[in-house]
Symmetry: C2
Subunit: 474 residues, 2 copies
């Protein structure tokens, strides 16, 4: 390893397409003009700095703050932009001679200023003269957050605690970032396309891989080979019932289902988020097939009903009802589907929400708490079957959301004595035991709300059972 100095040089990414670079100044100007309509205060966004891993010079891959990326377009390290009345000012240092020595030539500040259409550019130390009355959003890295606090003379709390002009700014950002512009959609489509290839590779590799780790590695290879990165920690597991599984030790055994929730992130930061579940053997068992079809029906119904004006919460409840009805048909639940959903019986098997916003963050703008996910005046339900819903807004053209119904046998839920007592009359536990080879299934796609309905951005990857078997068998 050769890391001679931890550099603050700010290298815009050569892999960002020429077309995107050419249109970047117009895209950014439009975004900040829209922001200026919502927010009259001057605004400063910091990009952040890399986090150290086990020693200072050994850092995690740098990820610029999403708000910075939205208005600056490039993943610059240790930079800031100031927006006021549609003007853009860039604050960053030119590459030092030490940086050029070890990191190679990189663009000067003035070249970057031209690329992003900045009206002025200054070295970073000048920022302190431009901070009066400025609003901001705290970044994730503590060192930069401390700079924010010092320059703006107020505490920067990591999330949720925003007040005054910062809270006003956050609301204005949500207003903008909820509805994606063409430049954003082009990037999300790129991330989605690479994600589709990663899943195809995962299915194909299952024939020869012996462990979860082998499949994960093949999927991430596709993402890395397209100079993208993972938008989140991949889930690749034969224990789909462990909902947030970020380890990959298990062997693949015939009879297992493999659940893979893997998404690419473009170099500009825009993300995709896709889940597929396929049989290690290449053939679903009859019980796996039955449950798969129930989950797929929920998935299809939700996408079919996703139109402008539809409440996302209603899609969630619709999925819950379809799942409940399917489980009644299979003899696992007893009763009317609507009644089962009213009593949250669906959540025994589908304990999470139907999905979330997608954009520069895989859970878009989740650094702002529920400000983006929940419409003004709404807040999280304390119902078992609704509390994990991340999005409660009417759909609108230009929104990108995931649709990700699932079925899981989570021991901590199904073995909980209180739940077993509460739901003893509606669950046929003997019948459920016949489905023990279905530990977890999820089907997740990314959809764009259009003026008339929804477009599946990840449609190139089949959800259809036979098609998945075909890819898996090769």
């Amino acid at each position: 390893m050769q890391t001679h100095s931890s550099s603050n040089a700010s290298v815009p990414d050569a892999e960002i397409s020429d077309a995107a670079i050419r249109s970047l100044p117009q895209t950014l100007r439009h975004r900040r003009q829209q922001l200026a309509q919502q927010c009259s205060a001057p605004i400063i966004f910091w990009s952040g700095n890399p986090h150290s891993r086990n020693f200072p010079a050994n850092t995690y891959p740098f990820r610029a703050s999403s708000h910075f990326l939205y208005f600056a377009g490039l993943p610059l390290q240790n930079a800031a932009i100031r927006l006021e009345s549609g003007r853009l000012e860039l604050f960053m240092d030119d590459p030092t001679s030490a940086s050029i020595l070890w990191h190679g030539a990189s663009p000067s500040r003035s070249q970057i200023a031209e690329t992003i259409g900045a009206d002025a550019d200054y070295p970073l130390y000048r920022l302190k003269s431009f901070t009066e009355h400025a609003a901001t959003i705290p970044v994730q890295d503590a060192a930069t957050r401390l700079q924010q606090s010092q320059l703006l003379s107020r505490m920067m709390t990591p999330a949720n605690g925003l007040q005054g002009i910062d809270l006003d700014l956050a609301k204005a950002i949500v207003h903008l970032r909820l509805i994606h512009d063409p430049a954003a959609l082009a990037e999300i489509r790129q991330a989605a396309a690479v994600t589709v290839k990663a899943h195809e590779a995962g299915m194909a590799t299952t024939r020869t891989a012996s462990t979860e780790a082998g499949v994960r590695a093949a999927m991430e290879q596709v993402i890395l080979s397209h100079t993208m990165t993972c938008a989140y920690s991949s889930i690749v597991t034969v224990h789909g019932e462990v909902l947030h599984n970020d380890r990959y030790p298990n062997p693949l055994q015939s009879g297992d289902l493999l659940l893979a929730d893997v998404g690419a992130e473009a170099e500009t930061g825009w993300a995709a988020d896709v889940t597929r579940t396929w049989p290690v053997s290449g053939r679903f068992s009859p019980t796996q097939r039955d449950i798969y079809e129930v989950v797929k029906t929920a998935h299809d119904v939700c996408i079919d009903q996703a139109h402008p004006g539809v409440e996302y919460r209603d899609l969630h409840l619709r999925a819950a009802t379809v799942l409940a009805a399917g489980l009644v048909d299979l003899g696992i639940l007893r009763g009317r589907a609507e009644d089962l959903v009213d009593m949250d019986a669906h959540a025994l098997f589908f304990p999470h929400g139907i999905g979330h916003l997608l954009g520069l963050d895989v859970h878009d703008m989740e650094d702002l708490g529920d400000l983006a996910g929940y419409a003004p005046g709404r807040s999280r339900s304390d119902r078992f079957g609704l509390g994990y819903l991340r999005l409660d807004r009417p759909l609108a053209p230009g929104m990108v959301v995931t649709i990700e119904p699932g079925f899981y046998q989570v021991p901590a839920i199904l073995n909980d004595p209180d739940r077993r007592a509460k739901y003893q009359d509606v669950v046929n536990w003997e019948r459920l035991a016949a489905f023990s080879d279905v530990r977890g299934i999820r089907i997740e796609d990314d959809i764009l709300i259009t003026p008339t309905n929804a477009e599946i951005l990840t449609a190139a990857l089949p959800t259809d059972r036979e098609a998945i078997e075909t890819i898996t068998q090769g």
Copy 2:
């Protein structure tokens, strides 16, 4: 993506081998007995917490502090251990019910305590009653560092600023961690073995890959498929002259050399660090071959001369002399090799040190500044040809170091007017121009100092030119 709660559950890694787990209590007991001989104060090591990436729940893969790993053996999150007179006390919380719900069952604190041979275990909140007079080392993540400051009532500065009992502790740790015990060596050997496979895959993939990113992805796939991670940001580049290159956009062109500096890190944290340089076409050009042989001679001579008692700084100077002599033979430099090294002329083409310590960190213990790298009383030289040397100690049995000579044509060095003037009489610039297809070559292996000489831990990967051509051609 499904991340429902950012959990503090502490999951020891199932991939750590059964044998390693069985002998873990003895290994750890021996380490802390050795530490107790050096340091009489009570000692607390914190493991740290994950860093957030773009929003709080979306974290980078967790890496426990190396000092914690050395004495606790397992990558536990949000845990602490207290050592005193050979005793080991574990402080961590049991998995919460929310954690079990989303992350699956994981071992209890008492199970982990048994696995590591702890004498007592407590919930984390109890730690505050055990902090009197305790020494510690600051971790990398700011949130945990703040806890350290608060519990120990003193500022925790990130590095280099250690004082009093903390500095005494750091010196004692260096004393221990410089010399690897059998358990450590077993892990380093595993990391080295996987690293060798990654490089073989990189060479083989060069036949079909079209970009640097494609080769990087194939190499990291091998590491991930062995449930390991990268010990540092991979360098995979046709511009080897950019010494710290962590981007992969360039196409592979016949005639290019590809330099790959990629190393695996075992789940226990132990690292390997290997560089190879191979021709994209599978055949070195005559000029590439000539320089490669010079670098390889420097590599071989250093490893040959690496014995207990030898000063590592002398190996560096020996490599510099071999390189200078080789460049004289090729007509690039003029004069006696020893005189050229005295005037730092070698550093025009070999501007970094011959290597560094390797262990739980790829630059082992670099979080302690130069405390590990430089023997007491020694400090960095301000000479151009020595200032980047990371290690200046006599070699001793049990030390693992890298040997990584290189040749680079760094524009920022070779085009610097002052350097061109200083070295105008000793560089044949016209002759150098004939070697323009050699932008950067490095050959790096990891060696263990034995009682009699040195063992190359990465010997399974050839350095031999013909063998590399053979693997690359397939």
